[in-house]
């Protein structure tokens, strides 16, 4: 078999004029997706995602959020001061026994950084779209709520085999002797949301706004705005597990968040007009 002998240097330059805007965009998107996702593994996406809406990983797009209201939490890590008011509020609201917890705040220490020595990371159930606990439960005692997407418990079905505790990559579950079942965060569905409240116990107790709770299907909602922007990096915990979590994390310092919430547009060059 013969291969055509092409001398690249002698080929005529076609120029960029003939490349359509759409093609150019697609090419850039591809590049962003590859570099963005695989470079750090944590960056949500660098290409424009307005209106396309995505799950946790940049490479894992879905057409729209599967639930409505699609409850979600955005944690602005820089604002957390470890006051533990959220933990107290959660324990009180949901009658969590002293040996258990539904949410907690982790501490990460740094050495040699100029601005901070410590960072606090609140963690809770991530209400994953692809929840490993739901797959692992033998009796469907834990399930995705078909309307809200909250991972909930039907306590009477729980046999206490604890498989879900090990399946959960976020350590969000514990066995409650009082309930005779596994207990976990339900975004305060039973105690607050189902009674008409719009905020969870922890998010309403947070004095700094580190925890913001809302509906991801509503473009006017704060969590939607915080996630669908390019200025600040948004990530999820343990993306390698592919669970499509609904708890998002960002540094979220005040200034940039203000900009986002005010709807400030950033100046990007528009290739269509150049």
């Amino acid at each position: 078999m013969k291969f055509p002998n092409i001398d690249m240097n002698k080929l005529k330059n076609e120029g960029t004029e003939s490349v359509t805007v759409k093609e150019r965009r697609n090419f850039l998107k591809l590049g962003f997706a590859i570099t963005g996702v695989y470079a750090s593994g944590k960056i949500l996406s660098l290409s424009s995602t307005y209106g396309v809406a995505h799950a946790s990983e940049g490479s894992d797009f879905v057409e729209k959020y599967p639930y409505n209201p699609h409850y979600s939490m955005v944690i602005r890590q820089s604002l957390c001061i470890d006051c533990e008011k959220c933990v107290d509020a959660c324990n009180k609201t949901n009658h969590v026994p002293e040996y258990g917890y539904r949410t907690r705040i982790l501490t990460r220490k740094y050495e040699g950084q100029l601005d901070k020595k410590v960072e606090f990371i609140p963690v809770l159930c991530n209400h994953c779209n692809d929840a490993p606990c739901v797959r692992a439960c033998p009796t469907k005692a834990t399930y995705k709520d078909p309307v809200t997407g909250i991972v909930r418990m039907e306590s009477k079905k729980c046999i206490g085999c604890k498989t879900c505790m090990l399946a959960c990559p976020y350590d969000a579950r514990y066995f409650s002797a009082e309930r005779h079942a596994i207990d976990k965060c339900d975004f305060c569905w039973e105690e607050r949301l189902s009674k008409g409240e719009t905020q969870t116990g922890c998010s309403s107790a947070c004095p700094t706004g580190a925890r913001t709770f809302g509906n991801m299907t509503d473009p006017e909602n704060i969590v939607f705005k915080l996630v669908h922007q390019l200025e600040e990096t948004v990530w999820v915990l343990r993306p390698e597990d592919g669970t499509k979590p609904n708890v998002f994390y960002m540094k979220g310092n005040m200034e940039s968040v203000d900009n986002i919430l005010k709807g400030q547009k950033f100046k990007y060059s528009d290739p269509a007009k150049s």
Binding site: Y99, G100, R104, L106, T107, R108, K109, I121, V123, P132, R135, A136, C137, P138, T139, K140, A141, K156, K157, C158, I159, G160, C161, K162, T163, M165, L166, A167, C168, P169, Y170, D171, R173, Y174, F175, A177, H180, A181, L237, R238, D241, G242
Partner: protein, 434 residues
């Protein structure tokens, strides 16, 4: 009463009478296992009443402890007994046939022992019976494991019945179903661990595959141990056919130990280069679990029995008994070394937070040890009772051969001739040889 006598004659049982004739030392041994089981179940029930989280050593992050390890040990051995014995009475390997009855009996006993143990680990065992049936989650390995093991137990009991009844074709069919369901159940047990993708030490196809081979090894070891021990109790059970069977099982076990050594080497070597697993692997190589790993899992569980079984040439029974007896202890640690280390690394370890910096520690509590001993003592008690009451699982005593029956030279069981049939034809019919 007459029916009982007939059945015991037909099945070759000695029943309670055999216990009356047993030596005081034997009865004391049985009694001590019964007492231990009683103590275990009392302590277990105490734990159930006061709440397991007060008395068990497991925690939120390391929620499967000694009890799950002991359960895995029991069901692995049970499946293994089924696998090894099926070589004979399912697939027709003649040398393996004499072990069938004892192996199937012990397989059932080990399974029941496993259920005794898991009863004290599951928080709501009574709900399980209901919601496993009316609310099954078909994507859950746990559901498949539980359901298939239930079916497995049923098949094994039916198979045992047909073995006693000398109905070879049906016992073979049930044995085949039992084997299939057992392997499906057991690989699902491996998958219960292997499909938890948040746990890198377990995740992957390794565990379901390893569990099956490991089961074969445990089964071979258990058969060798219980048979050589039975020969100590009642030397009459040992005869030429049984000696040949011991030799065959010994060879298979040597092969399977080598396989598991191969598996273990690659588990350690691949784990060392993986960031996620190396913490756990290193704790087994030279950390907290080094004694467990090197002394029990590697030395007692693999190296020593491999050496001794080869040295025994398959006919030095005291040596086989010691080798496999110690190996059973080693295998127990083998299971422990799968269950506990898989949970030692916190899920937030990779986040670099203070709370998840160290490996999670676990020490079995008194309640856990007693609940595990409950199941294990039930197994020991049933074994010793069975050896006496079931007449050493043998049938080939002339005085108990009923009218019209004869002892099959192939399998040692009693066959019945149909009218106008010769022994040869009856054997061919029983064993489906045409």
């Amino acid at each position: 009463m007459e029916i009982m006598v007939n059945i015991s004659k037909r099945w070759g049982y000695h029943g309670i009478d055999a216990l009356k004739k047993a030596s005081p030392g034997y009865l004391m041994l049985m009694g001590s296992f019964a007492l231990l089981a009683l103590a275990g179940v009392s302590v277990g029930l105490h734990g159930m009443i006061v709440g397991y989280h007060h008395v068990y050593g497991v925690s939120r992050e390391l929620s499967w402890g000694l009890l799950i390890s002991a359960y895995v040990f029991c069901v692995v051995t049970s499946t293994g007994l089924c696998i090894i014995s099926s070589i004979g009475h399912v697939f027709g390997g003649e040398a393996f046939m004499p072990i069938a009855k004892r192996a199937v009996f012990m397989s059932i006993i080990f399974m029941l022992g496993g259920f005794c143990i898991i009863f004290f680990d599951i928080e709501n065992p009574f709900r399980m019976a209901i919601y496993n049936v009316i609310s099954p989650n078909l994507s859950s390995n746990m559901w498949w494991m539980g359901t298939l093991y239930g079916a497995y137990l049923v098949f094994m009991v039916i198979e045992y019945y047909f073995l006693l009844e000398q109905n070879h074709s049906l016992s073979r069919l049930m044995g085949f179903f039992g084997l299939m369901v057992g392997i499906a159940a057991h690989s699902n047990l491996g998958a219960v661990f292997g499909m938890l993708h948040g746990r890198p030490f377990w995740y992957g196809p390794y565990l379901p595959i390893y569990f099956i081979f490991s089961a074969g090894m445990s089964g071979g070891c258990a058969i060798l141990f219980v048979t050589t021990l039975a020969a100590r109790i009642n030397p009459e059970i040992m005869n030429q056919r049984m000696e040949r069977a011991m030799k065959a099982v010994c060879q298979v076990t040597i092969f399977l130990i080598s396989t598991i050594i191969f598996f273990t080497i690659w588990k350690i070597v691949t784990g060392m280069v993986s960031h996620d697993k190396s913490l756990v692997i290193m704790s087994m190589v030279n950390g907290d679990y080094a004694v467990n790993f090197w002394c029990f899992e590697v030395f007692l569980g693999m190296v020593l029995p491999l050496f001794l079984l080869i040295r025994s040439r398959g006919n030095n029974f005291p040596m086989i008994m010691w080798a496999t007896g110690l190996m059973m202890i080693g295998i127990f640690f083998m299971r422990y070394d799968i269950v506990i280390p898989g949970q030692m690394v916190s899920v937030y370890h990779s986040l670099g937070v203070e709370e998840a910096r160290d490996l999670i520690k676990y020490t079995p509590s008194f309640h856990e040890i007693m609940a595990a001993l409950f199941g294990l003592s039930v197994i020991c008690f049933a074994y010793f009772a069975g050896e006496k009451m079931l007449n050493g699982h043998q049938l080939e005593k002339h005085e108990i051969v009923p009218e019209g029956g004869y002892i099959c030279p192939g399998c040692g069981a009693i066959h019945f001739m149909e009218e106008g049939e010769t022994e040869e034809e009856a054997m061919r019919r029983h064993h489906k040889i045409w």
